[in-house]
């Protein structure tokens, strides 16, 4: 095992995710959502007029749209009251748009992210790190050599000011319009922070770019926006991590991710989500892939009270492809409703979905996925595989795939299995001297291994650690 892996393993993950800091903020908007709130956010950020207009239009759409309640078996959202959420908190930092050096940050924020291991991760050869604390990016750095090549990695607020043209063209216009769903509209109205990534033509960013989002205040909403534009022939890997400490009130995370995969470009987007178990995680993530473009979504959903997240890819150009890898782990009181959506809108497009879910202690997982093959998308193929593992009888594991095939020259396959942890397997491991917990942990690790194998190493280690954490001592 490499020393890098050891480092990550030694960090006490539980301590990293459970601690919380005293709230200390420069500006906090009133609870609830009114036009006034939106204007205040926009003004505080010194935004151009067009962005304010977009926010107000999104707000209008949010107010018009009903809460989604009629999805079969969907998580209970009745507790989500937007009036109880503080949409925007600016941490107390001097410099807008993030400090350039780690040492410039206020100590308590440094401390928070130290515990999360952010600078550590940077040292371990990530090409850029952005960390978002509450609503704004507090630290961002991009290694010089990427900057020279024209790669941009900055916080979204800064991008609105400094890369106005390109943001204006791409921000919630073609990929995730606010009208897409109620929470996308909400996001459009009060988004704050997030990352902007621009990779010029034929440029390969060899090391992953990483962003970390964290909510530290109670009753907090986080609405970060991530916009990734990968020009023709470029390649980039973006890693996003999320967490929040536990409080009694609920938090809401309603992020928006838009990815533009240019011709023959390749974008990989990885997420480790470990929001505290009072967080509603209602995200909209979408990519549009041009001719020959390749999109990869890798998601690990461990945290949150309820997650409704279906990263989607629109395969727009001939020969574009899409891979989804998702792992969902639902423990006590958690409802992880996640999956994938793929629209095959051009010939010769390919997609694969691999989903693994684990439900225990009364948790619920659901794979909800949609594959749509449009008329004319000849020679397209899609393969969806879902495997679920259940620990006990209080838990629930659902699989709800939807396939819409409007083209005959296709190859469509969906497969799913649900199984239990075999008593024999456990007995065997115990006979080799492992205790019950270790045996189960080992079986779970084996279950998700085909997926962790495909992950970047830091990510796989992190995910394994989280799974171990979820498993610890909780089994009868």
């Amino acid at each position: 095992m490499s020393s890098q892996q050891d480092d990550l393993k030694e960090t006490d993950t539980e301590a990293r995710f459970e601690f919380k800091k005293e709230e200390k903020s420069a500006f906090q908007s009133e609870k609830g959502l009114t036009e006034e709130t939106v204007r205040v956010i926009s003004e505080d950020k010194d935004e151009p007029e067009w962005m304010l207009e977009r926010r107000l239009r999104a707000l209008e759409q949010f107010q018009e749209m009903p809460m989604p309640t009629d999805w079969p078996g969907q998580p209970d959202l009745s507790e989500v009251d937007i009036n109880e959420i503080v949409p925007y908190i600016r941490p107390d930092i001097d410099k807008r748009g993030g400090a350039d050096s780690w040492e410039d940050l206020p100590e308590e924020i440094q401390d928070t992210f130290d515990k999360l291991g952010i600078p550590e991760a940077e040292k371990n050869a990530l090409s850029g790190v952005g960390a978002q604390y509450e609503s704004e990016i507090v630290y961002q750095n991009m290694q010089e050599r990427w900057e020279e090549k024209g790669v941009i990695f900055c916080d979204m607020d800064k991008a609105v000011r400094e890369h106005e043209e390109i943001v204006r063209e791409h921000f919630m216009t073609k990929c995730v319009p606010p009208s897409d769903n109620k929470f996308a509209a909400l996001h459009g109205a009060i988004w704050s922070g997030g990352s902007f990534v621009y990779v010029p033509e034929n440029t390969t960013v060899e090391m992953p770019i990483q962003a970390y989002f964290r909510m530290n205040s109670e009753g907090m909403g986080q609405f970060e926006h991530t916009l990734i534009i990968a020009e023709e022939g470029s390649e980039v890997h973006y890693i996003e991590g999320c967490s929040a400490p536990k409080y009694s009130a609920f938090n809401l995370h309603s992020g928006g991710v838009e990815v533009f995969v240019g011709e023959d470009a390749h974008v990989q987007y990885s997420t480790v989500q470990n929001w505290s178990k009072n967080t509603y995680n209602l995200n909209t993530k979408r990519a549009i892939a041009e001719k020959g473009g390749r999109m990869e979504w890798i998601s690990g959903s461990m945290g949150s009270k309820a997650t409704m997240l279906y990263p989607s890819t629109i395969l727009k150009g001939r020969g574009a492809s899409d891979n989804h890898i998702t792992i969902a782990f639902a423990g006590e009181g958690q409802d992880i409703d996640t999956g994938a959506k793929v629209y095959h809108n051009a010939p010769d497009t390919k997609s694969t979905v691999e989903s693994k879910s684990i439900a225990k202690d009364g948790g619920r997982t659901n794979y909800r996925g949609l594959v749509h093959i449009a008329d004319g998308a000849e020679n397209s193929s899609t393969a969806v595989e879902c495997d679920a593992l259940m620990f006990d009888n209080e838990s629930t594991s659902d699989t709800m795939p939807y396939m819409e095939i409007n083209e005959s020259k296709v190859d469509v396959a969906h497969e799913a299995t649900v199984g239990k942890i075999g008593d024999e397997d456990i007995f065997y491991l115990q006979s080799r001297g492992l205790d019950d917990d270790d045996a189960k942990q080992m079986i779970v690790s084996g279950f998700i291994e085909p997926i962790t194998e495909e992950l970047p190493i830091e990510y796989a280690v992190e995910l394994n650690r989280l799974v171990e954490l979820e498993m610890e001592g909780s089994l009868g």
Partner: protein, 409 residues
């Protein structure tokens, strides 16, 4: 969703239907309750995804389709064996009124949805099958012709302990005078089937629908199993412009089993909305859902399969497979196989595929100097083999094969 109220329907209509058949009071009451339920009942659930409603039942013009007082059918029933009772529903009421009253609606709530309520309020035909304890009957056949604009049918199968029965039902459009007089217009056929399988009973219910292309068909068949009982379904849909078919089994008894085999073949602008659902509610239950369909021209299919494993369903085995073969570029196929699992002591799997005739297979046959049309037809026939093999009754299998061949010509 607001459902359509049919103006020409009244309590009076329902009373007339019941009076003409000399029905007992309880049945009239049941019909009237069902009629009253129409006001609030909803159409059956239909899958909806962003921008796409998989089947549009709301577009059906029930006002024009439903003509309750002029229902006509010609139905031939063979009992296969003297020991079993196979009677037209109305006739059976006189002698088996108690058995019917005890079981009617016990499996399928008449007020389940708008279409079931409508059907119970207005049915004029159907069959009652009663298999006493320990009796073993093969070859019960019910061959029906529909001779009116609308026809509502209600079938009840009661299989007592350790009995066994195989039932084949078919429906097609009649070519008699009555049918011709209603011709040219759209038709509506509604078929509700309840199966009560007692302890260790074994019921196989096969159904073949081949109505003409002016027809709209709604069919809901549901069985409940007692301990060690088996209910197997074979559902073949070839006819109708639009078919909504639901096959459901509640596995209530320990060690009980159900198999649902489905076939469909759509041509022209036919639309099939095929649903297979199983609820595992007891220990050691087994379900196997197998559906295969072929689509040609601009035909469209919608498939939903549900395997629901309840909290008490220890040691469940549940399998589901669905395959659709597309013969035309303009056909469309939607599928949603669902797993709902509340008990971890479960082995469950499902799979669904959509594809076309394998190019290599075709090439191989052509290289053996078989022309491409014949080669394709051979492969389509072959595609149906796995489901045909599940059909134990020769007569039924022959019928299905014949209909497949006819469509391939």
């Amino acid at each position: 969703m607001s459902t359509k109220q049919i103006e020409s329907l009244s309590e009076d209509t329902v009373r007339r239907i019941a009076d003409e058949r000399d029905e007992p009071e309880w049945l009239l009451e049941t019909r009237l309750d069902a009629l009253a339920a129409l006001e609030t009942a909803e159409l059956p659930d239909v899958i909806q995804t962003p921008g796409r409603r998989w089947t549009d039942l709301e577009a059906l013009d029930f006002e024009a389709l439903v003509d309750p007082l002029n229902q006509a059918d010609e139905t031939e029933r063979t009992a296969g064996d003297d020991e079993a009772v196979v009677l037209p529903f109305t006739e059976a009421l006189a002698e088996y009124g108690d058995v019917i009253e005890a079981n009617f609606g016990s499996v399928l709530d008449p007020e389940h949805n708008y279409l079931t309520a409508l059907s119970v309020a207005l049915f004029t035909t159907g069959t009652f099958v009663y298999v006493p304890e320990g009796v073993d009957v093969e070859d019960v056949t019910v061959r029906a012709e529909m001779n009116s604009r609308s026809l509502f049918s209600q079938t009840l199968v009661v299989a007592e302990e350790s009995s066994s029965v195989t039932i084949l039902e078919s429906i097609e459009t009649g070519d008699g005078e009555a049918a011709a007089s209603a011709g040219g217009d759209d038709r509506y056929f509604s078929n509700l089937v309840e199966v009560v399988a007692g302890e260790n009973a074994n019921v196989q219910f096969g159904s073949l629908q081949n109505l003409d292309d002016d027809s709209y068909t709604y069919s809901l068949k549901r069985g409940v199993t007692d301990t060690y009982a088996t209910v197997d379904w074979i559902e073949s849909n070839f006819g109708s412009k639009l078919t909504r078919s639901d096959i459901e089994t509640e596995l209530d008894g320990d060690g009980s089993e159900s198999q649902i085999v489905g076939t469909f073949f759509g041509t022209d602008d036919q639309h099939f909305d095929i649903n297979a659902r199983v609820w595992h509610q007891a220990e050691q239950t087994t379900a196997d859902l197998v559906t295969r369909g072929v689509l040609d021209d601009v035909a469209r299919s919608v498939y939903e399969g549900v395997q629901d494993v309840g909290e008490d369903a220890w040691n469940t085995s549940s399998y589901q497979r669905e395959n659709t073969l597309m013969l035309s570029d303009d056909a469309e196929a939607d599928a949603s196989p669902k797993l709902i699992i509340h008990n971890h002591d479960t082995e469950a799997s499902h799979s669904a595929t959509v594809g076309q005739v394998d190019a290599e297979d075709l090439f191989y046959l052509e290289s053996r100097s078989i022309d491409s049309r014949t080669a394709r037809n051979m492969l389509v026939e072959g595609f149906f083999v796995p489901v045909l093999e599940e059909i134990a009754v020769d007569e039924f299998r022959d019928d299905v094969e014949e209909l497949v061949l006819k469509r391939l010509q």
